[in-house]
Symmetry: C2
Subunit: 165 residues, 2 copies
Amino acid sequence: MDILLNAANAALHLAHDLRRDVEVGLLLLGPPHPPRFVRLEGFRLRNYQPDIRSNAALVRRALVDASRIERESSPGVFGSQANFDEALDRFGPAFVYAKESGKDIRQASLPADATFVFSDNEDLATTEEQALTERGALVVGLGPLALHTDHAIAILQNELDRRRV
Amino acid sequence: MDILLNAANAALHLAHDLRRDVEVGLLLLGPPHPPRFVRLEGFRLRNYQPDIRSNAALVRRALVDASRIERESSPGVFGSQANFDEALDRFGPAFVYAKESGKDIRQASLPADATFVFSDNEDLATTEEQALTERGALVVGLGPLALHTDHAIAILQNELDRRRV
């Protein structure tokens, strides 16, 4: 859970505000009730802190009694049941998959309004990579060393920030 | 404390190892017993986790009964009393100060074996900036938006990783 919450922080937090144009999807495939999918909408979030302990409570509330129909358990926090393929399709193309062997992001042409896909501390399964390939995902690398997910996301956001200036 | 521990994680952690060539200095100027200085040596650390809760215990132990003489409270974790100037001088030049208005790091010529200085969620005080200026610090910016310290450090490490390849 901490890995996901740190990743969400890197995607959403600026020093003194949230990135209101960011949506985050957290896919929980571990016990007790997989698959669970939590979606965070930056422009609707309230009370979303840099402190992952308080965010954990918000995310846990979204996991309770989740059904296939998405439900907003607190402002900007949506819980549902969805597997990997379904989670991808709720965000929709264009997909960009961050993987060490990918094309260097500084040289990559990135689609506008993309869905960026990161694994946690384990690589994606072969079937999950296939789902991305079938959806035409661009594969990008962020640097020469394998990093924690939250640090990789911070580097991605920096690259996007620089292109938007 | 969480800000410092997240910053230390960004400086030290790779996906599956620690950056053994990194030293981290955490300066605690808040109550109850300022100033406290904790130094982490990547190549000596044991049991240093991605989970900041377990690292908090290591750092807290280094804060107990700190004197001006540095003491290793657990492998690779050193506690002492030191103010901002003293903390700088324990690491020594060359200094690089990360600040939003600085020269873009991608264009900056960076010294080998530098000491990189980051503030927490508040900017450095004027006297602290003066201490850096007196020591000839290069001022670099990491991107167009103000970020949390840990995310800024992840971006710095990525830039250094790319130059070392």
